[in-house]
Subunit: 189 residues, 2 copies
């Protein structure tokens, strides 16, 4: 009988990581994922999302016994009562998390041991866009700035290269940096 030791680096099972990459190389369709969300308006700027199932690695995922639920809200200055963070803030949370996880993943793939990552970010929006007061002003973020403080057992040059690589391979960052088609359809009643 052999006992298999779980090999983890940066909290990731590196054997599973290598196994996943090999499986996708052998069967590219395993890389296709579809994520989903359901949302229901409550009132005003308050609405609630329910996230549970997704498709990936060739099958429907069933690992979540119950859904995640998140509430969007707005602060008083934006006509709300702080029922939750607002959507543009949730986007920052998604972006910070994705760049971080992409960084951690590729650090593990390179054998780099990370000790800590702390991120601060800010994004600028001009409400002329949202309010439709000036069509020359984009409604979205004008720019988002991310500052990451990273402790790791490698050189600054390796960190900088890995950070640029992570920015270029982070799904959320590349959804923000590049134009991604959003198809909005109304259900006929």
């Amino acid at each position: 009988m052999t006992t298999k030791t779980l090999t983890k680096l940066n909290g990731l099972n590196t054997e599973q990581l290598v196994g996943t990459i090999d499986a996708i190389k052998n069967e590219p369709a395993l890389a296709r994922f579809q994520f989903r969300n359901k949302n229901r308006w409550v009132t005003g700027g308050e609405n609630r999302s329910t996230i549970q199932g997704f498709y990936g690695a060739g099958q429907e995922d069933t690992s979540r016994d119950k859904p995640f639920e998140f509430t969007n809200g707005e602060p008083p200055v934006l006509l709300g009562d702080n029922e939750g963070a607002n959507p543009v803030e949730f986007l920052l949370h998604a972006l910070a998390g994705c760049v971080t996880t992409t960084f951690v993943l590729h650090a593990a793939a390179r054998g780099i041991h990370l000790r800590s990552i702390s991120t601060e970010m800010e994004g600028d929006i001009d409400l002329h866009g949202l309010l439709g007061l000036d069509d020359s002003v984009p409604a979205g973020y004008e720019q988002i700035r991310i500052k990451m403080d990273i402790e790791a057992d490698c050189s600054d040059e390796e960190l900088d290269e890995l950070l640029a690589y992570s920015r270029a391979h982070s799904p959320v960052c590349q959804t923000v940096c590049r134009p991604v088609p959003v198809v909005v359809e109304r259900v006929a009643r």
Copy 2:
């Protein structure tokens, strides 16, 4: 003595809405907002965001007594333990919420009374991008589809026009549809 009645439509204070728009018309700098997020890596695909202050309407907001906190995680098939929804799922939550709130806001501005909004959405990702296995595959979402079921006291034509307008004026949707610069910087240690 006069008693002022609070005029609400779709849960929004329409007097405050008109007042906000007038204030921005008189002083355009009031429309400048800066949103922020702090994130800390926990381990593997788990990290946590803290969202509290922001700048907007000419001042630092102080309406939130304590921060909102959100945890990104990953499902087992993506090397995690479902510590939270994952970043690309949080992006869907942000997007659904923003299109909904933009719709509710402009419905109120037009005097349209809404009864309900339910949204289902899905987004496709090919992990060849994230994993760096094929540089011709974008790391981000390939496409996001949103289906909205809306009950309101107006015609289908008005709903369709308002929905197209909301898509074009939603900050998160316009951050996804259009390329937005993301500047990533490493803090020197």
